[in-house]
């Protein structure tokens, strides 16, 4: 006699493990996307705050007449001014040739287009945002070469921050919604099961069963449902990971699989712990529901 209560035969609870599993899966995905978003937005935030790009346009009245030597001299002058500016930590010159190399993977074999692209010379400056005043630097550089464009990425920061923050709040809300829905589903199944089996509970109680024994039966059923749900979630997560890996492997330009590898601990944490954690909360919530409902039924 595995169980004295036929609670697994509750038709209302038949699909609960799969529903709960789907919720756990979606919650894990939302949590994963939250972590990915947090990582990317964190990285963008850092880049936007700590980078200034100087652009020497290819086609301007001044640069179109410059020889390569003149351009090199100009770059040296600019570098000299930049290096002497307080708050600058690193300078990288990206020549049009280097720019072409960076764009090559995106354009594939279209070398003719690439060669004819009017790529500017770029000077990437890493800065300490608290020390460097970009407007002062810009004024100094304009004196040397008026067509020079100073692109301060910090100006985009507020827009990116709002977008990132909104997305993260949305993902957290989504994750919480899935979590709460899974809890409510299991709680609903447990409560209906208790009500459906009220007659049996009454008989067991009249035969001397304590609330603890009756609750144990239902808790064990809730635990089984949570474990089955977690199992379903794990299978779905594994399939998604395999599908993601397969899809991204076909596009060498994407580094998404490396994100998985670089953040293996996070991926494992979310993949393994979120369903487990949800399962634990569900069992605990079922226990509370059972306790409350048995007191309400009060077959004493």
């Amino acid at each position: 006699m595995a169980s004295d209560l036929p609670i697994t035969k509750n038709p209302a609870a038949r699909y609960v493990p799969w529903t709960v599993g789907l919720m756990m899966y979606l919650a894990s995905l939302a949590a994963f996307l939250f972590i990915v978003g947090f990582h990317f937005f964190g990285s963008w935030r850092h880049d936007l705050l700590t980078h200034v790009t100087l652009e020497i346009p290819k086609h301007s009245l001044l640069t179109s007449t410059l020889s390569q030597n003149d351009l090199d001299t100009l770059i040296l002058k600019i570098k000299d001014v930049v290096q002497k500016t307080p708050g600058v930590t690193h300078i990288t010159v990206i020549s049009p040739q280097m720019g072409q190399k960076l764009l090559a993977p995106l354009l594939g074999d279209q070398q003719i287009i690439l060669k004819n692209l009017p790529l500017p010379t770029l000077i990437e400056i890493e800065k300490n945002p608290e020390i460097l005043d970009v407007s002062i630097l810009e004024a100094s550089l304009k004196k040397i070469f008026p067509p020079l464009r100073v692109i301060n990425h910090q100006t985009h920061f507020s827009k990116i921050f709002i977008l990132g923050f909104s997305l993260e709040v949305f993902l957290l809300t989504l994750m919480s919604a899935f979590f709460v829905t899974a809890l409510l589903t299991l709680s609903f199944a447990t409560r209906t099961s208790l009500l459906i089996h009220k007659n049996i509970i009454d008989i067991l109680s009249l035969l001397g069963a304590s609330d603890a024994i009756i609750a144990k039966e239902f808790q064990s059923n809730a635990r089984t449902m949570a474990i089955r749900g977690a199992g379903t979630a794990y299978i779905l997560l594994l399939l998604t990971a395999l599908l993601g890996f397969f899809l991204f492997q076909r596009h060498e330009t994407f580094s998404f699989p490396f994100f998985f590898l670089n953040h293996l601990s996070w991926t494992l944490f979310l993949g393994l712990l979120v369903p487990l954690l949800m399962g634990f909360f569900m069992i605990f919530s079922a226990r509370l529901s059972i306790g409350r409902l048995l007191k309400k039924l009060d077959h004493a």
Partner: protein
Amino acid sequence: MQKEIIQFDQVSLDFPGNITVFENISFRLLEGTFHFLTGASGSGKSSLLNLIHLSMRPTKGHIRLLGYDVSAIKRSEIPFFRSQISFVFQDFRLLDHLTALENVVLPLRLQGVPFQKCRLQALELLKWVGLEGFYEAYPPTLSGGQKQRIAIARAVITQPKVLLADEPTGNVDDQTGVKLLYLFEELNKNGTTVLVATHNQLLPQEFSYPQLYLDRHKISLILPAEGETLNGF
């Protein structure tokens, strides 16, 4: 010397809507005795059994069971008393999804006894009540008398100190009813206190045991030999 096993002291029971069931009733049952509980329909026989089985609480007065005052008993303490005081219900209250054997072992299983340990005892009890060969039968396939026998076997498997039976012969024919009473008598000879509620006046005549008679919210004792009635005993 026999101890008092059930004691009602000025117990009253009212239902919502000012319906009085009992009014200050008092009586005592000694350990190892056999009593019938009689009275017209609606006189409160089932309610009195329910009070003893702790399925109801008195409006007033004190009830002592097995030497303990249970008038204000905690919910968590009820299972202890129910393991000592068994109940045979008129409508059997068997679990239809369990076999006869599984139904009989249920009270012991609820006390944590493994199935294999109580199986033999249950088989013996089913044999004792005349259900040899019906061990694996499910209640819906059995007659009323057979179901009642399973209910009796289930009630006695814990070797209770008190056996309460609410109209145990109500759903069976007279001949089966008498046979069931012989089972109760046998249990009583082994020391179990038995209280059988019945509206069938033939049973107290056939079995010479005292009656607790309920009438107009009061209880009285009718002794078998002389038909003498004692009020307020």
